[in-house]
């Protein structure tokens, strides 16, 4: 994205499955937000922390799925998941192998925002109300419901000054500015 938001890098960070993926995306996040990566970062340790918080195999304090926060019985594949799925369908998108990974994984949701922003940018001359409303709802309602408590929990558990903490901070400030800049739907 040419506007230097860390959105793509954040998406890649939360989609990472190993230390290399984490390093690659963390470097890009740091560049976008103008931060410095901690000197001599132990990427193996970052990977362990990432898994401890988000993946497993033990119980995870910060499952990166909307429905784990939106429905406080912490269940996955809940209503928030179906909302995300319907949102993607509206955009003409879907998670490959629907149902295998819950649709409301943070990486998918961030990518959906990317898609919506791209669509809006492409429509610059003739904005489509539906996309704008969907974007506003997705950011202002759907993400707003779970990202703040998610980020709070991540900050509680992540090592201060570490890679995961950096990503959490970047996610928090991106989300705040995205929320603020998302226009309310026009009327009449």
């Amino acid at each position: 994205m040419s506007d230097h938001t860390p959105l793509e890098a954040l998406r890649d960070f939360f989609a990472a499955s190993d230390a290399d993926g984490l390093k690659d995306s963390a470097v890009r996040i740091a560049r976008c937000v103008g931060a410095d990566l901690p000197a001599g970062t132990d990427w193996a340790a970052a990977e362990y922390e990432f898994n401890r918080l988000f993946v497993g195999p033990a119980a995870v304090p910060a499952p990166p799925f909307a429905s784990a926060w939106s429905e406080t019985d912490r269940t996955l594949m809940g209503r928030a998941t179906m909302e995300a799925r319907q949102t993607y369908h509206r955009l003409g998108l879907a998670v490959p192998g629907e149902g295998v990974i819950p649709d409301d994984h943070l990486a998918y949701e961030l990518e959906a925002v990317l898609a919506m922003k791209a669509m809006l940018a492409a429509q610059a001359g003739a904005p489509d109300e539906e996309t704008a409303v969907l974007h506003a709802w997705f950011v202002g309602e759907h993400l707003a419901r779970w990202l703040p408590p998610f980020i709070r929990t991540v900050r509680e558990h992540a090592t201060g000054g570490g890679v995961v903490a950096l990503a959490a901070d970047a996610l928090a400030s991106w989300f705040e500015s995205e929320r603020n800049s998302t226009a309310a739907p026009r009327r009449g």
Binding site: D18, P57, T75, G140, A184, P185
Partner: protein, 750 residues
């Protein structure tokens, strides 16, 4: 939340957007995700319905109907077609959706860098299999055999295709197996000596009993669906007697509750037998025509057993023993449910033989509504296609006698000169420590949680320290996973095809795949296929397990004409309409009086039993001598099946923490008040727990229900239980059982 199609309001709203344009936009807050919808009538057509079966180690093996929408399991219920399941599951079964969709579920293959470090990395299945395969090949290289590769597996998943785990081991070569069973081996041997097989009546015929003794079993917690038959028998006029060292929930539903000294059951049964003999209430026809050795048994009783003696050992008053004995002997039919807890003692097998004798001498064997009920395997006649895999050419193994590998060992004995090396599963820790030439280098764990369920946990830790690689296949991060190097995520019952039967009732149920396996989970046979692929990539011919498998095909391969005939179905697809019951000639086992013993008769005197190092007659055998102040019992909780379910947050809603149950007099003597935290300790280890005071428990005994609460809760009864052997079990299950309830400990306030 209702089960009307969700998002209906939203879809309409969004459609409205494109159609009506900006002018009719309603304020965004109507899109709030949690606007509740008005409930409308339930419509089954809104769902896809699948058939599943609970694969847990439970008498009831429920048939399940699974309601799926949008590819998500919405809710489940019991199948109404089964008269046993009768439309309802249990507190554990209804929690299944929580297992599938818990954020804490193990999702990916992961590697722990440094066992117990808590530092886990995701790896691809390919990398996981690569590490495992290379280790296996390394073992082969170093030892010249695969005896350094061990398997511990038991009853975590009884779906028939899961025997593919044993099959996987065989397909690699001759390996080390932990054989036997912690569950019921002493009783199995006992029933085999007496009757020639473990074969119980159809439990649904208990309604016909005029007298029901539930001896050392607690179906109100462990077989909830059986309770309705006992209650119906009672309603029809039967007398129900429950015998147990604890006043259990089942005991609360009895007419009479006996609380004997723990492990004195053999004496109690013999005392009753003596009285029945004295009163001339023996079924002469049965003992003459259908039994062997009754006269010798009668002589033994006259010379060695009196009612007073039995009363002295058991604590049950003599006149009670006489009364119940007479009632039991004159009721027609009368039945005894022999519980597995009752035989988890050093004298468990002997006690079961004595109780069998009671049923036999009163002519209750082979009667509908009668019998000495323990379990059966009559419905388990599958092909065991998943289990039966061949070792690769040129495999080198153990040279020596090969026995059965467990009660579910459906291999028909090995003709090869090599066999797997076997150790007693009940002494897993000791086995790992003792194994040499070669040592066990690598352990594969599936359908089992050794750290929660094996005995002498401190010893098990030391044993694991000697293992070079531990691979655990599981759904949740339990202590065994924490002690592993590689964890492989396995499917739940909704994510694989298999077929299930029970060791108690006579129903057969299909288990359909209801949803796509989540994340990167795989079923046990898919894991085996992947391993085989990698093994053969690295060393062609090193593994014979098929590399491309489909769980549905493998489920189909388990069926044979024998199963079809026994259940009266044309094809397994008939089971998509619901579970089916076996077409029994009679609900009674042994109805034809053709016993499986060497003589073909019921053997009061079993020479085979004597040959195996026990007594020929069901003589009294003393229980374990105390080595500490209190008896310690660690029976099953109603909220879980061993270490499954109790960790779920849905279950925590109703069962938040473990408790020790002790008698108020003992508590008073130790200055322990209700809900105080106490320390229970013995030669094995210790644990801290809150105490509840109750007379449900006998004086001088401590009762703690075994469970795994998850989420870092260190509660584990195996810190107090040692691996002392039961008397029997080696004959039919490959190894002696274990005296799980023959334990002792002390307690003090913290």
């Amino acid at each position: 939340m209702s089960h009307t199609p969700s998002g209906l309001n939203r879809r309409q709203f969004l459609k409205g957007l494109t159609m009506a344009g900006a002018a009719s936009l309603l304020p965004l807050r109507l899109l709030m995700p949690y606007t509740a919808q008005a409930a409308t009538a339930f419509n089954a057509k809104d769902f896809q319905v699948f058939r599943n079966a609970c694969p847990r180690n439970c008498y009831d093996t429920c048939s399940i109907k699974t309601y799926v929408k949008d590819g998500v399991v919405q809710f489940i219920e019991g199948a109404p077609e089964s008269t046993f399941t009768a439309g309802g599951l249990c507190v554990k079964g209804y929690a299944y959706p929580r297992r599938v969709y818990s954020p804490d579920r193990i999702k990916y293959p992961m590697v722990q860098d440094g066992r117990r470090s808590g530092n886990w990395r995701r790896v691809s299945w390919d990398e996981a299999m690569d590490r495992i395969a290379k280790k296996i090949l390394e073992i082969k290289e170093k030892d010249g055999s695969l005896l350094g590769l061990g398997l511990t597996k038991y009853s975590g998943n009884f779906g028939i295709t899961n025997y593919g785990v044993e099959g996987m081991m065989s397909s690699l070569g001759y390996t080390t197996r932990f054989v036997g069973t912690p569950c019921w081996p002493a009783g199995i041997d006992a029933q085999n000596y007496d009757l020639g097989d473990m074969w119980c009546n159809d439990p649904e015929d208990m309604v016909k009993a005029r007298y029901v003794i539930v001896w050392g079993a607690n179906p109100a917690w462990c077989s909830v669906h059986s309770m309705k038959y006992i209650m119906e028998a009672k309603r029809r006029g039967a007398k129900v007697v429950v015998i147990d060292p604890v006043f259990t929930q089942t005991a609360a539903k009895a007419d009479v509750f006996w609380q004997p000294e723990t492990s004195s059951d053999g004496a109690l049964a013999l005392g009753m037998a003596r009285h029945i003999l004295d009163k001339g209430l023996v079924d002469k026809g049965f003992v003459t025509d259908n039994a062997l050795g009754f006269e010798e048994f009668a002589a033994y009783l006259r010379q060695n057993v009196t009612v007073e003696w039995a009363a002295g050992l058991s604590g049950i008053p003599a006149e009670q023993i006489r009364e119940v004995a007479e009632e039991f002997a004159t009721a027609d039919p009368a039945t005894i449910w022999i519980g597995y807890g009752m035989q988890r003692h050093t004298n468990g097998g002997a006690s079961v033989r004595a109780i069998d004798a009671l049923a036999a001498m009163t002519g209750n064997v082979g009667k509908e509504g009668g019998g000495a009920r323990y379990g059966h395997l009559r419905t388990w006649g599958f092909n065991y296609h998943a289990l039966l895999q061949k070792q690769p050419e040129g495999s080198v193994g153990f040279v020596g006698a090969g026995g059965p590998k467990g009660e579910f060992d459906f291999t028909k004995g090995e003709a090869a000169s090599y066999t797997d090396r076997t150790f007693n599963i009940n002494k897993t820790a000791q086995g790992i420590l003792d194994a040499k030439d070669p040592a066990i280098r690598m352990l594969w764990v599936s359908c089992k949680n050794p750290f929660a369920q094996d005995f002498d946990r401190p010893k098990l830790e030391k044993a694991f320290d000697t293992l070079e690689m531990v691979v655990t296949v599981d759904q949740f991060f339990n202590e065994t996973v924490a002690n592993s190097d590689i964890v492989l995520p396995v499917t739940t019952l909704f994510e694989e095809w298999t077929v299930n039967v029970s060791y108690w009732h006579y129903w057969l149920g299909i288990n359909e795949q209801a949803i796509t396996p989540m994340y990167e989970t795989k079923s046990n046979i898919e894991i085996a296929a992947l391993l085989s692929k990698k093994m053969n990539e690295l060393a062609p011919g090193s593994c014979t397990f098929p590399q491309d498998i489909d769980t549905r095909e493998w489920m189909e391969k388990e069926f044979n004409q024998g199963i079809y005939d026994y259940f009266g179905i044309k094809h397994w697809t008939d089971l998509k309409n619901g579970p089916v019951k076996a077409k029994l000639a009679s609900t009674a086992s042994w109805h034809d009086m053709k016993f499986g013993t060497p003589s073909g008769k019921y053997e009061f005197r079993s020479d085979l039993c004597a040959e195996h190092g026990h007594e020929a007659l069901p003589k009294y055998k003393e229980g374990r001598k105390p080595y500490d102040e209190f008896r310690l019992l660690t029976p099953h909780s109603k909220f879980g099946i061993h270490s499954q379910f109790i960790n779920l947050d849905w279950m925590h809603e109703y069962n938040k923490e473990p408790f020790l149950y002790m008698h108020p007099d003992d508590a008073h003597a130790k200055n322990i008040k209700d809900l105080d935290t106490v320390r229970v300790f013995n030669k094995v280890g210790e644990l801290r727990i809150k105490a509840k005071l109750t007379r449900n428990v006998a004086p001088k005994s401590l009762v703690i229900y075994e469970a795994w609460f998850g989420r870092g809760n260190a509660f584990n009864v195996q810190n107090l239980v040692d691996d002392e052997a039961a008397d029997m079990g080696a004959y039919k299950t490959g190894a002696p059982g274990v005296a799980i309830h023959g334990q002792f400990a002390n307690v003090e306030r913290v």
